[in-house]
């Protein structure tokens, strides 16, 4: 009988065993389902805060009944509270900078006359967007509020053309945070973050648990080979990863109204590489860690740069070069491109080869490190 480096039968043996163990491990299963839920809810609330009655300053260079009725309509809406009416432009800017108001509404001189002549006067809303979650709803409500008020109250005086489409140029200017983070951007990213966190953790614990319980000794005394054990421990969790993806996508759709613009099958297929890469990290960590505590510490050591440097939290363009390099090495960086691309913009496979290759290379390197570190003896 010849010796095999890889036997499908032994690999299947490990897979079956892991499946049974995962199924019976209620705590871990609960975590796998619970973590995505909790994270989405936390992030969801943070993003979804829908604050109302935000302090607003008004700079009114026109002072017509038109502008006044827009201002009072704003005050009556639930999003704005006119704190400082009729201030100068300079004063308003100072107020915004000091954080005393969240918005400035500016009506230029001759606003009404220009409007009636159909000349698209500018209506400017400046927002303090340093906390993007705060202003989102107010901003979008403003865009419909002004035209509606004018249409409702001044229909008879408006020229015929104007009723259909108001000759109004509503500008929104976000100050202090030009990179707008919206739930639309965060939730797809969260898919990658949650997978990174749970996948690496769970597998890192699984092999160190075998060492601590002594079952590793039994396993090592059988003919099973390192690659069979490592891959056997990865496969069952792939499935768990997909359950998580499903869960997150459903919540993204149901709660945040985010739909996958591009191809869902493509997204699922490419997620395979990402999940596998993270599982490989976990297995490799567990070949190095001596106990579960060390395994957890090492997983955190992998997790932190992933969320900080991948572009999930901060735009990578603003990072120093070394941080960008580290980011490039991490699978989450590439997966973010894929999920944001497919979910938000409908990116096609052809534009995603670079991140795919990056994840495959990462996976192979990590598995090789794991194989090199896998000890077939107890010492």
């Amino acid at each position: 009988m010849r010796l095999q480096l890889f036997s499908p039968a032994r690999f299947v043996a490990v897979v079956i065993k892991e499946f049974i163990q995962v199924r019976r491990d209620r705590v871990t299963l609960g975590m796998m389902i619970g973590i995505p839920l909790v994270q989405l809810v936390i992030f969801g609330f943070a993003i979804n805060t829908n604050p109302k009655y935000l302090p607003t300053a008004v700079v009114d260079g026109d002072m017509s009944t038109f502008t006044r009725s827009i201002v009072s309509a704003m005050n009556n809406s639930e999003y704005f509270r006119i704190d400082k009416d009729l201030v100068s432009e300079k004063e308003a800017t100072a107020l915004l900078r000091r954080g005393e108001v969240q918005f400035i509404v500016t009506f230029p001189e001759n606003f009404t006359r220009e409007l009636l002549r159909g000349r698209h006067p500018q209506l400017l809303l400046q927002a303090d967007a340093s906390d993007p979650g705060t202003v989102g709803y107010a901003v979008s409500s403003f865009q419909t509020l002004a035209p509606e008020v004018l249409r409702r109250d001044y229909r008879p005086v408006l020229p015929g053309v104007a009723v259909a489409s108001l000759p109004l140029d509503i500008r929104v200017q976000r100050c202090f945070n030009p990179e707008i983070e919206t739930p639309i951007n965060v939730v797809p990213g969260l898919l990658g973050v949650i997978l990174t966190m749970t996948m690496a953790f769970i597998t890192a614990l699984s092999m160190t648990r075998e060492k601590e319980r002594g079952t590793m000794e039994t396993l090592l005394s059988t003919p099973v080979r390192p690659l069979e054990v490592m891959l056997g421990k990865i496969v069952p969790y792939l499935l768990v990863g997909y359950v998580q993806i499903g869960l997150i996508l459903v919540i993204a759709w149901a709660v945040f109204d985010i739909r996958v613009v591009g191809s869902l099958p493509l997204l699922l297929l490419l997620s395979l590489f990402f999940i596998a890469a993270n599982l490989a990290v976990g297995v490799t960590i567990s070949t190095i860690a001596r106990n579960q505590v060390q395994a957890v510490q090492m997983s955190i050591f992998f997790f932190l740069p992933s969320i900080l440097l991948s572009g999930f939290m901060f735009p990578r363009r603003g990072m120093p070069e070394w941080a960008q390099w580290i980011g490039t090495a991490l699978p989450l960086t590439h997966y973010l491109q894929i999920v944001r691309g497919i979910i938000l913009r409908g990116t096609l496979l052809n534009d995603l080869w670079t991140p795919i290759m990056a994840m495959i290379v990462f996976f192979l390197i990590v598995v090789m490190i794991g194989l090199a570190r896998y000890r077939q003896t107890l010492d």
Binding site: R10, A13, K17, I20, D25, E217, L220, S221, P223
Partner: protein
């Protein structure tokens, strides 16, 4: 490449096995031979290196030095072939507690790539009388049943050599007896077994044995060979206040060892004439009953350990 194996070639022929942990020698140049089809007892107090030696035999630890063969395969370089042919039962229960009896056996059957898996597993469950326990989580069973499962799972692939590390520790006497009967049945059918234990009564159920103390092999052979090789003579005395009497005997010239055994005291020395001369004066004491007997295993082991300790001390 099949190794040349004849019925008489030893199952284990390990020489000069040495292993140290962090600079401390735990197994010191130990050589043992285990013949095919025998039960070889591996005795010694806790911490004497039994587990370490067995782990080296099944390739779980890398020795600092070792020569020789296991089942005809080179100990150091043919670990995979050896692994396939041995059944190793760990000292601490190390099957999966969250798998049932049947699932544990199925796992083993798959890992050894056995044919007729279901059939073999069913047969093993039948043979070990698991009955309804086949669907019980192994972690939920009592010590005796865990031990049976551990034995079952290392027998499943029909190994040529069993390495059993303190298989009966913490098992009740009836189950221990059953276990030894089973072991004798197995070796009768050609399997070789190396069993570590620290129960002296179990030593007497082994065909041959070796005694290890603090990493050193002190003796090996059949029970009779071991006793004979020690060259010890023993007088057994019964009756009277033996504990006080034992104190009185200790240290007399010719008497090297006085060991109380419940109802009797064993008085032992390496020079029969000197020993007899030393005990003779007490023959006339009323209430005492003297008999010259062979030293038993325990006398020998205690003697050898102390001699070794003395040698090390000097």
């Amino acid at each position: 490449m099949k190794p040349v194996v004849t019925a008489s070639s030893p199952a284990v022929d390990a020489r000069n096995v040495t292993k140290s942990f962090d600079g401390r020698v735990v197994v010191n140049r130990v050589s043992i031979q285990v013949r095919r089809g025998e039960i070889f007892g591996f005795l010694g107090p806790n911490g004497s290196g039994k587990t370490t030696f067995i782990r080296i035999l099944c390739g779980l630890l890398r020795p600092d030095h070792a020569e020789g063969t296991c089942l005809g395969f080179d100990l150091l370089h043919r670990r995979d072939e050896i692994k396939r042919r041995i059944g190793y039962m760990t000292q601490k229960y190390s099957l999966y507690e969250d798998l049932t009896v049947e699932e544990n056996l199925q796992l083993m059957a798959r890992l050894y790539r056995l044919d007729r898996r279901r059939e073999r597993v069913d047969a093993m469950i039948e043979r070990m009388n698991f009955g309804d326990r086949r669907r019980q989580l192994s972690g939920a069973m009592s010590g005796g049943w865990k031990q049976r499962l551990a034995l079952a799972s290392c027998l499943l692939h029909d190994p040529e050599l069993l390495l059993l590390d303190e298989p009966t520790a913490g098992v009740d006497p009836a189950a221990r007896r059953d276990f030894w009967d089973e072991l004798h049945n197995l070796t009768a059918s050609g399997i070789t077994a190396l069993v570590s234990t620290h129960y002296m009564d179990e030593a007497e159920r082994c065909h041959r044995l070796a005694y290890l103390a603090y990493g050193n092999l002190l003796t090996q052979g059949t029970l009779h060979e071991v006793v004979a090789a020690s060259g010890l003579s023993t007088w057994t005395v019964q009756g009277g206040n033996l504990s006080a009497f034992a104190v009185e005997l200790r240290g007399l010239p010719g008497i090297e060892q006085v060991v109380p055994f419940g109802e009797s005291v064993h008085v032992t020395g390496s020079d029969r004439a000197a020993l007899t001369a030393a005990v003779q004066p007490f023959f006339s004491r009323p209430g005492l009953e003297w008999r010259e007997t062979a030293a038993n295993l325990e006398d020998v082991f205690i003697y050898l350990s102390q001699q070794r300790a003395r040698d090390n001390f000097q």
